[in-house]
Symmetry: C2
Subunit: 927 residues, 2 copies
Amino acid sequence: MAAKTGRKKWVYWFGDGKADGNSTMRDLLGGKGAGVAEMTSAGIPVPPGFTITTEVCARFYENGRRFPQDAEPQMWDTLARIEKSTGMSFGDPSNPLLVSVRSGSKFSMPGMMDTILNLGLNDRTVEGHARRANNPRFAWDCYRRFISMYSSVVLEVEKEAFEKAIRARKAARGVTLDTELTLEDLQGLVGDFKSVVREHAGKDFPQDVKAQLRGARDAVFRSWNNERAIAYRRMYRISDALGTAVTVQSMVFGNTGPRSATGVGFTRDPGTGEKKFYGEFLTNAQGEDVVAGIRTPRPISELETELPAAFRQLREITARLEKHYRDVQDFEFTIQDEKLYMLQTRSGKRTGHAAVKIAVDMVAEKLITPREAVGRVEPAMFEQLLHPVFDPARRKEFAVVAKGLNASPGAAAGKAVFDAPTAEAWKARGERVLLIRAETCPDDIKGMAAAAGVLTSTGGRTSHAAVVGRQMGKPSVVGCAAIHVNEELKQATVEGRTIREGDPVSLDGTTGEVMLGDVPTRDSDILEVMRGRLDPAESPTYRAFAQLMKWADGIRRLKVRANADIPRDAEAAIALGAEGIGLCRTEHMFFAPERLPIVQEMIMATSEEGRRAALDRLLGFQRDDFYGLFKTMAGRPVTIRTLDPPLHEFLPKREDLMVEMAEAKAKGLEGPAVEQRRALLHRVEQLHEFNPMLGLRGCRLGILYPEITEMQARAIFEAAVRCAKEKKAVLPEVMIPLVGHVNELRHQAAVVRRVADEVMKKAGVRVKYLVGTMIEVPRAALVAGEIAQEAEFFSFGTNDLTQMTFGFSRDDAGKFLPLYISDQTKVLPEDPFVTVDKAGVGRLMTMATTEGRGTRADLKCGICGEHGGEPETVVFCHDIGLNYVSCSPYRVPVARLAAAHAVLREEARGGSRTPAKKSKARRKKGR
Amino acid sequence: MAAKTGRKKWVYWFGDGKADGNSTMRDLLGGKGAGVAEMTSAGIPVPPGFTITTEVCARFYENGRRFPQDAEPQMWDTLARIEKSTGMSFGDPSNPLLVSVRSGSKFSMPGMMDTILNLGLNDRTVEGHARRANNPRFAWDCYRRFISMYSSVVLEVEKEAFEKAIRARKAARGVTLDTELTLEDLQGLVGDFKSVVREHAGKDFPQDVKAQLRGARDAVFRSWNNERAIAYRRMYRISDALGTAVTVQSMVFGNTGPRSATGVGFTRDPGTGEKKFYGEFLTNAQGEDVVAGIRTPRPISELETELPAAFRQLREITARLEKHYRDVQDFEFTIQDEKLYMLQTRSGKRTGHAAVKIAVDMVAEKLITPREAVGRVEPAMFEQLLHPVFDPARRKEFAVVAKGLNASPGAAAGKAVFDAPTAEAWKARGERVLLIRAETCPDDIKGMAAAAGVLTSTGGRTSHAAVVGRQMGKPSVVGCAAIHVNEELKQATVEGRTIREGDPVSLDGTTGEVMLGDVPTRDSDILEVMRGRLDPAESPTYRAFAQLMKWADGIRRLKVRANADIPRDAEAAIALGAEGIGLCRTEHMFFAPERLPIVQEMIMATSEEGRRAALDRLLGFQRDDFYGLFKTMAGRPVTIRTLDPPLHEFLPKREDLMVEMAEAKAKGLEGPAVEQRRALLHRVEQLHEFNPMLGLRGCRLGILYPEITEMQARAIFEAAVRCAKEKKAVLPEVMIPLVGHVNELRHQAAVVRRVADEVMKKAGVRVKYLVGTMIEVPRAALVAGEIAQEAEFFSFGTNDLTQMTFGFSRDDAGKFLPLYISDQTKVLPEDPFVTVDKAGVGRLMTMATTEGRGTRADLKCGICGEHGGEPETVVFCHDIGLNYVSCSPYRVPVARLAAAHAVLREEARGGSRTPAKKSKARRKKGR
C-alpha cells in the first residue's frame, strides 16, 4: 500500500512564477490552493508555498486522524523549496522563515475552519524576526499572537484564557488598548501565554518549529469536522466527503508599519452587483484583523491616497483576474513595506440581487454567454428578489436611529435578540427575530440563519457578518457604530434609548438604516411590476430578473405550474410565469364561512338523500369557483383534485366537545342546545380516527360517498361547458387523490366520466378533459403500470408520499426529525419534507414514471407536493423525465430557473437525463 | 374473426362409451363435463349428452351476454347425436327427448349456479312422455316442475309465486301433501303456473323446445355472475375469469315409480374420513329433491335391500372410480326402473379431519404417495384439527335436547340467529353466533361463514347445509327433526322449550348433539397431546396429524418460527414444531402490573438520569424474561425486538384526562391529587400525536432515548451470558424496529453492539448473536441494499408495511375496507391484512430480499407480521426465497404444511421459485 501510494503526488508547489496546480484543480487543492497556483503561473506576485491535497485529508481520516507517513517527506522537500525561494530558513534564529497554514476546500467556507499565522516563531527565531524587521515590538506582537492562535487551534486552549492574561497585563500597566502595550509588556505577555498553555494544555508550547508545522497541519485537517464546519456544510449541502486541503505559504506582513497594509475586496459590489471596486483595508495589520471585525477597516478607495502605487497595481491585477476567471473575484492582499502580495482569489459570494445583476451585466460586457449567466444564479439565491421590501409609504413613520454599512440588501424586521442560541430558540417557537451582535463569529451561523436580519456594531463590508449575511441572502447592516451592544446584559443602546431583548427593530440592508419598531413591508419589485403597481422602467431589479427569466425559459424543457385554489392566486401564478395549475384543492372552497355549515349538514346527514340535498346547495358555489379559475387560466391546464381531507376536519374537535359535554354534565346543564352538541359529538366520535392520515380520506371518501365526487364533477364540467359556450378555451384535468389500487381510480374515473358525458350531452358542447391520479401512496408507485391503464396523468403528491414512504407523520415528526437532521445523530442528510429523498421516495417516483409510461407512452407526469418549488427537487424531476413541476405561485420563478439549471447540468454530464451511477463511481475512484 | 373461430371446437360429446373430453379437461369442460366424459370412456353407464366449453362462456360475456352465433350449429349437431343415441327426438310429441342443463366450472361450487331439469317438455311432448312412461301423473309432475324451475331461472319469476299457486290448489282440494295431488290437479297446476308466468314475466311460457334450450343455456352462463356465485368465489379465491361450462344431458328419471331412485354419495365419510360407503337416496324422486333438503333422504345402506342389483353395481362402479381417480369420489346417480345411471363424479369435498385421515389412509393403502398426501390437505382446512372441542368434564352439565345428523365435525357454541343477514351483522359487531335454519340455501352462505356453527331441522348428510358446512369446516348438525324452526318469528322450539334469537345454543358436529347453553370448550387433541394431557394412542386425530406433519417437514425448505413473548407461548410453539422465535415483543413485558408504574415513571422523568433510574429497575425484570425464553428455546434463534410502541400507550388516554380535568374544574376541585393528574395530562399532551402510527415509536424512540435500547440490550446479553455460563445454548437476534434509513440502524446497532461487548467482556464469555432490522417502512425496502450493510437479518413486518404501503391505518380501515372487499365495489380482491398483497407489498418484499442479499449474500430473511401463518402468504414467502416465516404458535402446523405445499407447487411449475410472468401471460393467451 505504502509502496504503491508512495510515488503519488501529495504536495503541490507554487512560487517563482511556477505552480504544480491550476484553477481547474479545486477538488484536489481547494479553492485557495487552486487560486494561488493559477495566480502564480499568471505572474501575479504571490508569496511562495505549497498545498497538501484533499486526498491526504481523506487518508488522514482513514488513518484514524493521523497524517500519512509517506506524504511527510514530500512536505519537507517542498518546504525546502520555499526556503530556497525566499532565502530564509525554517527555524533559523538568524533569518527565520515564517509560514501561514490555511484550510481550503472545493467550496469556500469562510471562517469555518482553522488558520494559523506566523508559524515558525519560537524563543530564538523571534529575535531573528525582530532584527530582520528592525522592529522588536512587531516581532514580539507576532509571537504572542502566534502562541495564542496556535494553542487555541492545535492544543485546544480556550481563547478566553489568553484574553484574561491580556486584561491582567493591561490592568497591571494601567492601559486599555493593545497598542499601548510596550515591547516589554509583550515580552512579558509571551511568558504569561506560555504559562497559560502549560496550565490548560498540560504541556509546554512547542519550541520545535517542525513540530509546530505538523501540529498546525493536522489541526487544519481536523477542523474539517469541527461542529461549525459540519453545520455550514449542512446548510449549503456541501458533501462531507470532499475534505480540505492545507496550504502552507511563506508569511508576508501587513503589520510591519504604516507602509504596510492588508485588505480584502471584490471586483464588484457583492451586495448589489454594481460594477465598482469594493473592499476594505487596514494599515499596519494582519489579515485576520480585517475579517474578524475587531477593528473597523477603511474603505478600499482610501488606499489610493495611502499607498497609490500598490493600489494601482491591485486594481490592475484584480481586473485581470476577473477577466481571466470571467467572474467577480473575492481577493485578499497584503502590502509589506509598499510591496503588494496577492494571498487569495476566488469567485466572490454574492446576494441574489447581485448575482442576477452581475450575470446580466457580464453578458452585456460579452464576458459570458446567456447560458452561463443562467448557470451563475443559484435558484435558492434567486428567491431573494421576491422577498418583501419596506413599504415606502409606511416607512416614513419610523425614525432612522442609526446607519451602518449596507452589507446585504433587503428589509428585515423582528424582535431583538443578542445571541445565537436565543435566535434559534425564538425562531423555533415561531418568532421573527433580528440578531444584534457587536460582531459575529463562525459560532453564530445557526443563529444568523434563524434570524430575519443581522445587525453588528463593528466590522466592515467584508467582516464575517457581512460575508455570511450575503451568502445567506440575509439582510444585514454591519459596523453600525452608533449602536452600543452589551451582549452580557442582552441589550443595546442607541441615541440614549435602550433596545432590550424582544423589542421590535427593523433594518434596511440596502441602505444600512436601522429603525426602532416593526416597519411594515410591501411586496418585492417583481411582484409590484406584475401587479401593474410599479413601472418596470423604474426597477432595474425587475429588468434584470425579466432578462434572466427569458434566458432560463429558453433553456428549460420542464414545464412549471402553480398550486392555486382561487382566481387571485391563479393570476399571480400566470404573472410569475406559471403554465397551468398543477393542483387546485377543492376542499379549500368548503371552508368559506357561508359554505361550512352546508358541508357540516352534509356530514351530519344519515342518508344519501340527506347528503345529496346538502351537496346540491354546494354545487353552485363550486361551479362558480371553477368557472373563475378556468377563465383566469384561459385554456391552460387546470388540475382539480376531488375532495381529499377526512370529514372530521370540517367539524369541531372531538376532545373539545368531550370537555364541553363533561362540563355540561358536571354543571347539570340540559336542553336542546346541549342535545345538539351531543349529537355532534356522536358523529365526531363516529368519524374519529386513530391515524387520520391513513384513514377515510381521498378517493376512499369518494368511493364511500360517490355523490360527493359526482357533485364535484358536475361543478367542474358545468363550469367548463359554460366557458366553451362563451368561446373561452378550457382544459380541466380531474385528479383523484390517494389512489393505491387501479380499481379505486377505475371506480372514481367512471363517476367523473359519466357525469362529464351527461353534462356535455345536456349542454350540447364537447370539452376536452383528462382524468388522472395523484401518486402519493407508495403502493400506487409500485403498481403504476396498472394504474396507468386508467390514468391519463400522474401527479406525484410528494408530501404524503414522503410521509408514507418514511412512515413519518408530518404533524408529529417534530418530536424526532430535528434530532435526525442534527449534527448530533446525522441520521438524515436533510429534511425529506424540504428536498425530495431521492433514494427512497425518488426511487418510487422513477419507477412509477417509467412503468406508467410503459403502459401509456404519452402519460403526463408532474409533481404537486411542496417539494415542487425546491431547486434540487426540480432538477431531480427533470432528470427522471417529468413533464412539469407545480409549486406555490411565488416559487414559480425559482422553479423556472432550477429547470434551466437541470438542462445545464445535464449538458455538463454529457446529455444523459439521469446522472449515471457508473460515472459517479468513476468520479469517486478518480479522487 | 368468426371465420377463424368458426372451425374451433366449442361443443364436446359424451355417450355410447365414447367422449371427446376426459378428466384432464376441467378448465375447458368444468368438473362435471370432464367427469362424465371420463366415465363414459371408461364404460360406465352415463346418459349421453354434450358440454359447451368455458371458452364459449368467455365469449358469451365478451359478446355482451349473447351466445356466439358460430357455436350454435355445433350445439344443434351434437344434440342430434343424443337423439340418435337415445332413439328419442327433441320436441317430438310421440317420443320426446328431455334433457338437463347444468353448470360446471373447474372448481365445484355446489348449488351456486343454476340447473334445469326436464327441458323439452311442452303441452304436446308431455303427452308423449306420459304415454312412454305409461304414467301420466309422473309426466305432468315433470312438466309442472319444469315450468317453475325454468321460469324462475330463465324468466326470473319469483319461486314464491309458484309455491303460492300450489298452496292455493292444495287448499282448494283440501289436501296437504304434493303427493296427494291427482293427475287432474297437476294438469290444473300446469295451467295455473302458465298464468303465473304470463303475469310475472309478461310473456307466455315458451312452447318451442329449441327456444327453451337456448334460454336455459344462456341462463346458466349468466348464473356464473349471480351474486351468490361471486360471493362463493370470493370466499374460496376462485378466479372470476374461469367461467362455467354448460352440460346438456339426456334425462333419466328417478321418479318413474318405486323401482326408480336417485341419490348422492361419497366413497368415504367426508366428515370424519372413515372408509365407509356414505350417502343418501330417495326412491321415486328427482336429484334436486335429495340435495335441496326438502325431503329427508334415507341412508344409502338401505338401498341394498331396496334395489340390491343396482346397489351392487353402484358400489362396484364407485370403488372403480375412487381407484381410477385415486381420491374420494362424490357421485350422483339415478336408477330408472332398476337401471343405474351415473350422472356425476368428482373429488369429494371434506373437512380438515377427513382430509388428513383420508390422505394418511390412502398412503397406507398405497393409493397415493406421502407427497401426494401432503398435497391433498389444504392448509386452511388443516387448521380445523386445532379447533377446540367441548370440554368433556363440563359438557355433562348440559342436557342434550336433540340429536341430528353429524354433518361436519367440531364443537360450536353461540347465540342463536335465524337468518343469514343477522348472522353477518352480529358477527360484525363481535358476537359468536349459531345459525339455525329449517334448511339452508345458497343465499345463506355468507351467514354460514359468519356463524360458529350451523343447525338445520331438515336435510340429510348431503344437503346444502351439510356440504357447505363441511367445505367451510364449520361444525354442522343437519336434519335435526326434533327442532321446529319458525324463521318468521325468529325462534325454534325443542322439547317444549323455545329458543329465541340471542339464546345460547351449542352443537357437536361430531356426534350430532344439540345442547342449550354455552358449553365450554377445551383445546383440540393436538394441543392436549402436546401438553401431555392426552395419550397419543388415544387420539387417531393426533396420530394422523403427526404423520402428515412428518411428511410435510420432509418436503418443506422454508423454516417456521413462532411469535412468542413468554416461556409458556414458547413451549407451545416448540411443541407445535416451531424452529425458533421470530418475534418477541419486549413491550409486552412492560405492561405487567408490577412494571407499568416503573415504565410510567421513566416516561414522566424529565432528565436522562431520571429515565436511567427507572430503567435500572426494569432491567432485572427484562433479564429474567429473556433468560426464561432462552432457556425454553434451548439454542434455537430468538429474535427480540427493541421497544416499539409510542410511549403514550403506557399512559392514560388524553381525552379521559381532559374530561377528568374539566370535571374537576367545573366542580372546583383542587389539591395535590388533581395537581398530579394535571402534570400527567401535561406529559400526555406532550406525547400526543395526530398519527401515532407514523410518530415517535420504533427505533425513533431508541435514538431519542438511547438509554432505553441500552437497558434492553443489557437485559438480553446478561441473560445470554448467564445461559452460556450454565452451558445452555443460546442464539439471540436483536431486531431494531421501524428502520427507514441505514443510519437509524447504524445508530441503534452501535448501542447494542457496544453493550453486548461490555456485558460479555465483564462476564468473560462470548455469545454468538445477530443484529438486524424489521423491514416495515416502505423506504426500508427501497434502500434495502444499503440497510443490509448494517443488518445481519431482515424480518418483514408486514402489518406495518401493509399499512404504510396502502396508506391504510388498520385501526381505522374498518370505515372503508369492508366496502373495498365487498362485491359492491370489488376494489380489492382480498383483505391485504389477511393475505399479503403481492403486487404492492410483495413487490417491496421481493426487492428488499434481492437487493439486501446483493449486499450481504447470507442475509437471513423472514417475516413476522400476522401474515406469516396465512397459507397463501407462506407460499409467497417461499417463492421469493425467504428463510423463514414466523406466526402465532397455533398457526405453526398450518405454516409447516403450507411451506410443504409451496415446494409441491414449485415442482408442479417445473422448479422455478417465482411463478414466471411469461408463463402466466402464456396461460392467459392460451385460453
